[in-house]
């Protein structure tokens, strides 16, 4: 059983009571809500005759259904309009702050909360969205919840939870140039599988993780859920504090100094005990691309789509399904696979540093003929910052569309969607069948720079070939050691 980890400390501090059914009631420090999973929860609350216990600890934005072309109200899709209007009504009625369209603070829920300084170390964070694990980048314990749990948090600012085990994922060494946090997490999921994290919280640690920026840590923790872990986190350190200082909701003055002391004390100490540990060598990781229909079906960009014989027996049935669905040839290289749509955005890779990395590849190049390529900033703040440094102009000059912030083609609840059998290079987080809006549409997950490389080449390409001073490395896949 784990002891002395950040997870243990935060769990202990937020414990409210032991419930008759055996679960623990856990206090939730920050509840983030959006238009898709909250309406029924508010209705349920109304039916129960209950109010919102801590409206000041509840923050709303709109992201999933917003169009990224024209955001003029009312939206063209009446259902999308109704969902937003409902959120607005619920927030007004219960005194909840809503960062709406045009507020300057709207965006994907997992982009705006860190940006505003709402997400802080040591908090418990819940949101009706599985990628809430993102907030673990700050040393928060953050997890996605279902609609009835959204109701419970609104009503009681708490949740019935069972304690997780803690697996430390230690990564040491320097990432090669051209290899991003996205490649790191795709590699980890590839090596451990999509179910390995079930029942675990993932602590990401080691020299490589400590060297990552906050935005890179967010990308990493964002996809912990794709590895089956309900939450993932990084211990707070100087990088965390530097990011937070001066953010609108961050503490100031003497409170800031006290906060930093407390935050430091939360990190897993040298004496911390973990239920499990896995170690990776960062230097062996290549830019990674998924070829299948789960995020674990990934390979280095210079590898070939695995044949059934190369896979473990238990991986073969899903691989067979992926061969049929993706129409990729086992044994053939992934590089060179033509793409139709290139999407840069989402809560995984829609932040400023992601757009910079993609723009560095797009700059001075042109999107290949016949390819639809578009960039959706993760938030209004990201959009403004990117525009201020001219990234929008770089993208437009290269033939990318520059859109308004939102979830967009990550899950295609808005008009941005694949059509028919189209195949996308996507910086998002899920390559499930039909995920991007077409029942037969196909998704190749990769880093934003790799998406930009695919856009200008017209096919999957190694971004290292397009960057200056490319190290010519093509290592074999790095295996974890235990």
């Amino acid at each position: 059983m784990s002891a002395g980890t950040l997870y243990d400390k935060v769990w202990e501090l937020h414990r409210v009571a032991e419930l008759p059914g055996g679960a623990t009631q856990l206090f939730i420090g920050l509840h983030l809500i959006h238009e898709v999973t909250s309406p029924q929860a508010f209705s349920a609350l109304r039916d129960l005759g209950l109010g919102v216990r801590h409206p000041e600890r509840t923050v709303a934005t709109v992201d999933h259904i917003v169009p990224t072309t024209s955001q003029a109200r009312p939206f063209a899709d009446p259902l999308a309009e109704e969902m937003l209007a409902t959120l607005e009504r619920n927030c007004a009625e219960h005194g909840i702050t809503l960062h709406g369209l045009g507020s300057g603070r709207q965006g994907i829920v997992h982009v705006i909360a860190p940006e505003l300084g709402l997400t802080q170390p040591g908090m418990t964070v819940a949101c009706g969205d599985s990628h809430t694990s993102t907030h673990g980048a700050f040393g928060a314990i953050a997890f996605g919840i279902g609609t009835s749990q959204v109701r419970d948090v609104l009503a009681s600012q708490s949740l019935a939870m069972n304690k997780l085990k803690v697996r430390r994922i230690r990564v040491e060494g320097a990432l090669q140039s051209g290899v991003a946090a996205k490649d790191l997490i795709l590699h980890i999921i590839r090596m451990l599988g999509v179910k390995a994290g079930v029942g675990y919280a993932y602590e990401f640690a080691g020299g490589t993780i400590e060297a990552l920026s906050m935005e890179e840590r967010m990308t990493l923790c964002n996809m912990a859920i794709e590895g089956g872990a309900r939450c993932g986190y990084v211990n707070p350190d100087a990088t965390t504090f530097a990011y937070l200082q001066g953010r609108p909701q961050a503490p100031v003055g003497e409170a800031w100094a006290r906060a930093v002391d407390w935050w430091r004390s939360l990190a897993s100490g040298a004496e911390a005990v973990f239920d499990d540990e896995v170690v990776f060598d960062a230097a062996l990781i290549a830019p990674t691309v998924t070829w299948g229909i789960t995020p674990a079906q990934g390979i280095g960009v210079n590898e070939t789509v695995p044949t059934a014989a190369q896979l473990e027996p238990d991986e073969r049935p899903i691989a067979e399904e992926a061969y049929r669905y993706m129409d990729l040839v086992p044994g053939a290289p992934i590089a060179g696979v033509p793409v139709d749509v290139c999407f840069i955005g989402s809560c995984t890779n829609g932040r400023l540093s992601d757009l910079r990395a993609a723009a560095a590849v797009a700059k001075g190049r042109q999107v290949a003929p016949g390819i639809k390529a578009f960039v959706v900033p993760g938030s209004e703040q990201v959009a403004a910052a990117a525009e201020a440094e001219g990234l929008d102009a770089v993208f437009r000059a290269a033939g990318f569309e520059w859109r308004e912030p939102g979830c967009s083609m990550c899950l295609a609840m808005n008009p941005d969607r694949l059509e028919g059998r189209q195949i996308s290079a996507s910086s998002s987080n899920r390559n499930f069948k039909g995920r991007q809006g077409s029942a037969s549409g196909r998704t190749l997950l990769m880093s934003p720079a790799m998406v930009a490389a695919a856009a200008v080449c017209g096919h999957v390409a190694d971004v290292r070939d397009l960057l200056p001073a490319t190290p010519a490395a093509s290592p074999s896949p790095a295996s974890p050691s235990r």
Binding site: L19, G21, Q25, F27, Q40, S43, L48, G122, A160
Partner: protein, 224 residues
């Protein structure tokens, strides 16, 4: 900080809350085996921002087909609280919209020969008991209601039996025994089916926890 109490939604009978010792009202029978959740609420009704308007979707396609002759449309069953069904009721899609639609139409308990597991679980978290009767008893109950739709049905959850009170047309009381697994039975009669109320009930403990969280008190340890 305490929760502000707001008036509940307007509805003929209040939605379930707390312990459910019994349930009383007129009954309506929807006869047939393997009635799936697509029939209980067709998919197009899932495009919604709240469960509130789902009553109209309950059995919508079946009702349209029967043009007013579906049990849910017959005048004598309006306001019924107990739904009588047969085998494997609620099979198919896991949509919580199905029990929500039934509850919003007015149903507060179901008696049937068997229920799909997912449907049963969805009902349980809403405080809607799904009780099982033998084949013979289920048919006898349905027959009795067909004969006398105005009869008052009393479902005693504690004793696990259903009573049909006599009316002018058919005086005399009849009763049948029912079954329900022990866990759900205990949860319903003690009120522990309602996760939200268990959490809300910890008001003092919630305050205590909040008061020791540094980020809720300007990072001054121990202040509140």
């Amino acid at each position: 900080m305490s929760s502000s109490v707001q008036p509940g939604a307007a509805s003929p009978a209040p939605f379930p809350s707390g312990p459910i010792p019994s349930c009383r009202g007129r009954a309506v029978a929807v006869v047939g085996d393997d009635i799936d959740t697509d029939r209980i609420i067709p998919a197009r009704f899932l495009k919604c921002v709240s469960f509130e308007a789902l009553a109209a979707g309950a059995f919508a396609d079946d009702r349209r087909e029967l043009q007013g002759d579906h049990p849910f449309d017959r005048p004598q069953h309006q306001g019924a609280a107990i739904l009588l069904v047969n085998r494997n009721f609620g099979c198919g899609s896991s949509r919580e919209h199905a029990p929500q639609a039934l509850m919003r139409w007015g149903i507060r308990a179901l008696i049937g020969e068997s229920f799909s597991e997912i449907f049963f679980g969805n009902c349980l978290v809403m405080g809607i008991p799904c009780l099982t009767a033998s084949h013979a008893d289920a048919l006898a109950l349905q027959q009795a209601i067909a004969t006398d739709p105005a009869a008052e049905v009393v479902l005693e959850l504690e004793a696990l039996e259903v009573r049909l009170l006599g009316s002018v047309e058919s005086p005399g009381e009849r009763r049948w025994s029912l079954s329900l697994a022990q866990g759900p039975h205990r949860m319903l009669v003690t009120g522990q089916w309602d996760g939200t109320s268990q959490l809300v009930a910890q008001d003092e403990a919630l305050r205590r926890t909040a008061s020791r969280l540094p980020y809720l008190s300007s990072f001054v340890a121990g202040s509140s």
